[in-house]
Symmetry: C2
Subunit: 253 residues, 2 copies
């Protein structure tokens, strides 16, 4: 036995399948087209349905496919570029941002990581503003904006029970604009959608999402923190000056 090379690592079936499917998508299918159902595909490739699904899962993760229960599997359009870092640093809710305020509640119970960044005293009152972002008619992100009551003292009185939820959200955002924004800070990581965010994004709970954490600085401390949850399958987050993402130059031939 002296075969000098041991690198005959057998490629997993689902990996090979993914490659084959991927090439088929490029050559034989067009955007929006519906694929044969999973049982049929599995049979056609001679694998168990679970194995076929493992391949589909990866392709969906890469934004190539879109699967909807009760409907079928379709070829996904290219990911949309979503601008996350406008050159101008502004408060959320400033004129011209793509977010829509939904509601706002007051809470004393926020995620530990957020409490740490806001340096909250235990039980300190916080406004939680819920916003959503829509691009090209599709919901792409949901956001929870955490604003300590101390940052927007004037909002306190206006957030009575009689006012409707969206109005409360607007009030908090309006008060934020009064502060001088000294800087901001962002990070991006992979997460899985909470049940409520998932519903809003039209996905199942646990769907992969890109979580953008934005810290807003004012008065020498962190005045607000936003947790923005973007659909990872359909979005490409863009940063920097040019919002024109990849894949726009279609005419060159």
């Amino acid at each position: 036995m002296g075969t000098t090379q041991l690198e005959t690592a057998p490629e997993p079936k689902y990996w090979h399948l993914k490659t084959v499917l991927s090439e088929a998508l490029d050559s034989e299918f067009s955007v929006g087209e519906i694929l044969p159902n999973e049982r049929e595909l599995a049979a056609r490739f001679g694998v168990a349905r679970a194995t076929l699904r493992q391949a589909l899962e990866q392709l969906e993760l890469e934004g190539r496919l879109q699967r909807r229960r009760g409907v079928g599997t379709t070829v996904a359009p290219p990911r949309v570029g979503v601008a996350v870092d406008p050159a101008r640093h502004t408060w959320p809710g400033a004129p011209g941002d793509d977010w829509q305020p939904v509601d706002a509640v007051e809470s004393r119970n926020v995620p530990a990581a957020v409490a740490r960044q806001l340096e909250l005293a235990p039980g300190e009152q916080v406004h939680v503003v819920h916003r959503s972002r829509v691009t090209h008619g599709q919901p792409v992100a949901a956001e929870q904006l955490y604003v300590p009551a101390r940052s927007v003292p004037e909002a306190e009185t206006a957030t009575g029970a009689a006012v409707d939820a969206q109005a409360r959200a607007r009030t908090v955002l309006r008060e934020l604009q009064q502060l001088e924004l000294e800087g901001q800070d962002r990070s991006v990581e992979l997460g899985s959608a909470r049940a409520d965010d998932a519903k809003e994004l039209d996905r199942l709970p646990g769907a992969p999402v890109l979580v953008v954490t934005t810290r807003y600085f004012a008065g020498g401390r962190t005045a607000a923190v936003a947790l923005s949850t973007y659909r990872a399958d359909t979005c490409r987050l863009t940063f920097g000056d040019n919002e024109t993402g990849a894949g726009v130059t279609v005419l060159a031939s």
Copy 2:
């Protein structure tokens, strides 16, 4: 018949499992600790191993767990913040960046998306510089930097076959510094690791990664494109002025 609420959506087992495990991780385990093996855990919770694995998969995706074949499942440390957008815009390979050149090859065959962004003529020659990034002793990212030969004419002669691969990489990077950088552009999206990147990142092929695409502008066009592949399980990409990410303030009590 007339139950006014139909929202009795039964929570999937793996979802509930994930919640339970997540809480157990917070309270009963510490970083680096090794969990019971999958067969044991499945038995303990009274589910099939596949179901248990579905829960573990999510927790790994969220960076809570680390699984290694032949070893076991351990509790992962918090994600490391990795600075992606230094305030100063510089060429790759500028002094002080965290990347290590590995090698460079010349190719006429690059990913379609890259070719489009570089406005490559079909078959145009491109240097592909391969770099890797290490933080805290762990490999966190692999990168392919695509530099059209037209951008670095001087590098042409110096990249003979006799020179070793890493030297070729350095040459291309050095030539890049000669150009005046007019701007850059970034986007982040979810992907799955190619086989070679996976090996370099010490993961299995298909592992979830954050793909950062950087375009470098010079001479009125796109002079280079970098595709940087970060481990999604262990990394949090940070942007902006402050590199101090969340979760650094450990002493406050």
